[in-house]
């Protein structure tokens, strides 16, 4: 049993029956007083990099329903997310996309947390959450429009409770908090997840989100993927304490989970979501992981980081880890992996075809949806623009 705050909170929670939100509101003050780990940061892990299952008294109970079949589903999600991502990188290299932020290495953090959410939960992503989008049922081809440059978003956030990607760092942590405040006001037991990176944790918006969520006991889970880098800056350039420990200063628990261990991420996120649903307020989950590729396709990591570092993290590859487990500890046969490979290839092809078939937007789209109620100036400029465009057609005729 670890000594960090999350464990003690989880243990404390175990002793009590889940509370109704109204009841919890009264006791909010009490429930948020937690202590952070002293000394070495603990890392919640349920499966070692060698694919060995390890016991964890606090978190095992959150994954008792995860059968071998369910593990295979998680494996599938990670393989599909990686395949999708690889296709997008290739499409960028071929000039079909302007830019792509790869999730390579972060599949477990995204799939573990994404699969922990319920349909009525709401997710506020940054710009790299392709694996979470997958888990939320967002058609992956929809994610590509903004990177191809045909739109600035590209999906209806309400159809899968998956908000649009947010490029301005950390902004969405506040939106998630506000949304969660609304959920609590409505008396609903949905939860909200805000994704952001270790770099984003330095933004004022994230600090303010922590403050608001704690003060209003908002049912929000802050899911920080610490992939060790913010473009060229290592985490040490953002913080001098382990990130998960920040939560303590705001009055809610923080926990660091092995972000390359999909089972541990699932368990920890489920625990945090349960706290939110039970009216116990926000939680900070720091998924300790690694960005194996470049920051985006525009970035050149050889300028700032050593090859050996990546190599050491490759040994902790989240997909490899689960595969080793499945092969050694379950009756998963070769057929499963072969079928999955074929399925992943089919996804790659579907994505490739969809991107190539994606039409450029109509010129008039510039003026679409600027206002919900319309605006005279936009109408005037739209008309001028249309007339100007038409003058070329006439010339051409």
């Amino acid at each position: 049993m670890t000594v960090d705050s999350a464990d003690s909170t989880a243990a404390a929670q175990e002793a009590q029956p889940p509370r109704k939100r109204a009841a919890a509101k009264k006791s909010a003050k009490k429930s948020t007083g937690t202590t952070a780990a002293k000394g070495r940061p603990e890392l919640v892990q349920l499966m070692t990099p060698e694919g060995k299952r390890v016991k964890n008294a606090a978190y095992d109970k959150y994954v008792t329903d995860i059968t071998d079949d369910a593990l295979r589903d998680l494996y599938r999600d990670m393989v599909m997310a990686r395949r999708f991502d690889a296709e997008a990188v290739t499409l960028q290299r071929q000039g079909e996309l302007g830019l792509w932020p790869s999730l390579l290495g972060q599949e477990a953090a995204q799939v573990g947390s994404g699969r922990a959410t319920r349909e009525d939960d709401y997710v506020f992503p940054t710009y790299r959450e392709h694996g979470v989008a997958w888990c939320r049922g967002v058609d992956p081809t929809k994610l590509l429009g903004m990177f191809r440059g045909v739109n600035n978003g590209g999906w209806d956030p309400n159809s899968n409770n998956f908000q649009l990607y947010t490029i301005v760092i950390g902004s969405q942590a506040l939106h998630a908090t506000g949304y969660a405040m609304g959920v609590a006001k409505d008396g609903a037991d949905s939860a909200v997840v805000a994704y952001f990176g270790d770099g984003a944790s330095s933004q004022g918006d994230v600090a303010e989100a922590f403050t608001f969520s704690a003060v209003y006991n908002a049912p929000v889970v802050f899911f920080c993927q610490n992939n060790q880098w913010a473009i060229s800056e290592p985490t040490e350039k953002q913080t001098r304490v382990p990130l998960y420990q920040r939560a303590q200063g705001y009055g809610f628990p923080g926990v660091r989970v092995d972000g390359n261990d999909v089972l541990a991420v699932l368990a920890v996120t489920r625990w945090a979501l349960e706290r939110a649903r039970n009216g116990e307020g926000p939680t900070l989950v720091e998924a300790f992981t690694y960005r194996m590729g470049a920051h985006t396709t525009s970035d050149d990591p050889t300028k700032y980081r050593a090859d050996e570092e990546r190599a050491s993290w490759e040994a902790k590859d989240p997909i490899l880890r689960l595969r080793t487990y499945l092969e050694a500890q379950t009756d998963t046969d070769e057929g499963f992996f072969a079928e999955l490979d074929a399925e992943a290839e089919a996804l790659g092809k579907r994505v490739r075809d969809a991107v190539r078939a994606m039409p450029d937007p109509d010129h008039m789209a510039i003026f679409e949806n600027v206002y919900a109620d319309g605006h005279a100036l936009v109408d005037e400029e739209r008309a001028q623009f249309a007339a100007y465009q038409a003058s070329f057609a006439e010339e051409g005729a």
Partner: protein
């Protein structure tokens, strides 16, 4: 020989290098400015040569970057901060507008805050949202700030030197789609006034007033118009706050027709101020109303539409024709 042919990005790099060398109080701060040399490599090699104390990789926090730069300036330093892209300056906008701009006045002139905020701005590079905006009017509207933008390598080098030497806060907009355009830089020249406009091309029929990334477009338009027998003058404003209205007036009175061109939305853009001033100053000289060419009252569009959104040769020439038709 001090004349070199440099791309704008490299000219800015050289300018920062010169400033760091000549004044130990100059600091360079920002996200990824160190080892990476900035996402556009504008600060390439500076940390290697001047160390982490002078070329500072900051936490990912724009309010923090500008806010601490203000504090450093109050302590006698001259921070030159980099905002990675135009759309990311807004977390720092509060510090810039409510603090940086007003501190000198509030302290009865007793303190100076010589902070330079470098912002790569404008579109045309096929980027995702928040990477292509032209927010210069939002800064020019604020008293206490000076706002400038070079259009070529020599100005990039010299205007940044002058901005760093200025005791006032200067917002230094860098036309990012021109970073790779080469031009001559004479590092031993005597530079002109930071806030004076320059006639980039002489002409007699119409004046195009432009700055930053649009100067090149206007020069190309002038060259194209010449083939049709039209003589176009191009005025490179260089400074957006203050504006060199005398230069604008001189050119307006000479050609009697003016078109102001910028990438930023036309509505309440800097072109609006320039047009109004021209009307005030030289109403009786004008043969046509001052026209404006710029962006629309719409969010900067996705990359595949930016060619429609950005003023190009055709739109500038069309405005020239409209002006001449009066």
């Amino acid at each position: 020989m001090a004349v070199q042919k440099l791309p704008i990005a490299k000219a800015i790099n050289e300018s920062l290098r010169t400033a760091l060398e000549s004044d130990p109080k100059v600091l360079v701060m920002g996200e990824d400015v160190g080892k990476l040399g900035g996402v556009f490599r504008v600060t390439d090699g500076l940390q290697k040569d001047f160390g982490e104390d002078r070329v500072i990789d900051t936490p990912l926090a724009e309010s923090g970057i500008v806010g601490t730069a203000i504090g450093l300036a109050l302590r006698g330093y001259r921070p030159v901060v980099e905002i990675q892209f135009d759309g990311f300056v807004f977390p720092a906008y509060d510090q810039i507008v409510t603090q940086l701009a007003k501190m000198h006045a509030r302290a009865l002139g007793k303190v100076k805050v010589p902070v330079v905020v470098r912002i790569p701005y404008g579109g045309g590079i096929g980027a995702v949202e928040h990477h292509s905006e032209s927010p210069e009017a939002l800064f020019a509207h604020v008293a206490g700030l000076k706002v400038v933008t070079p259009s070529n390598s020599s100005d990039a080098y010299w205007m940044l030197q002058q901005a760093i030497q200025s005791d006032d806060p200067v917002i230094f907009f860098e036309p990012k789609r021109r970073y790779w355009d080469k031009g001559e830089v004479d590092t031993e020249a005597v530079p002109g006034d930071l806030h004076k406009a320059v006639v980039a091309r002489e002409g007699t029929d119409v004046t195009l007033v432009a700055y930053g990334p649009m100067v090149k477009v206007c020069l190309e338009a002038a060259a194209a118009a010449q083939e049709e027998g039209k003589s176009i003058e191009v005025l490179d404003l260089r400074s957006i706050s203050p504006v060199d209205f005398d230069a604008v007036q001189r050119s307006a009175e000479k050609t009697r027709r003016v078109v102001v061109v910028h990438e930023a939305p036309v509505f309440l853009g800097s072109g609006a101020e320039i047009a109004a001033r021209i009307t005030e100053r030289c109403f009786y000289h004008l043969e046509a109303p001052v026209l404006r060419v710029g962006g629309y009252h719409a969010p900067y569009p996705p990359a595949r539409l930016e060619e429609e959104y950005l003023p190009g040769l055709d739109r500038v020439l069309d405005a020239v024709d409209r002006s001449l038709a009066y």
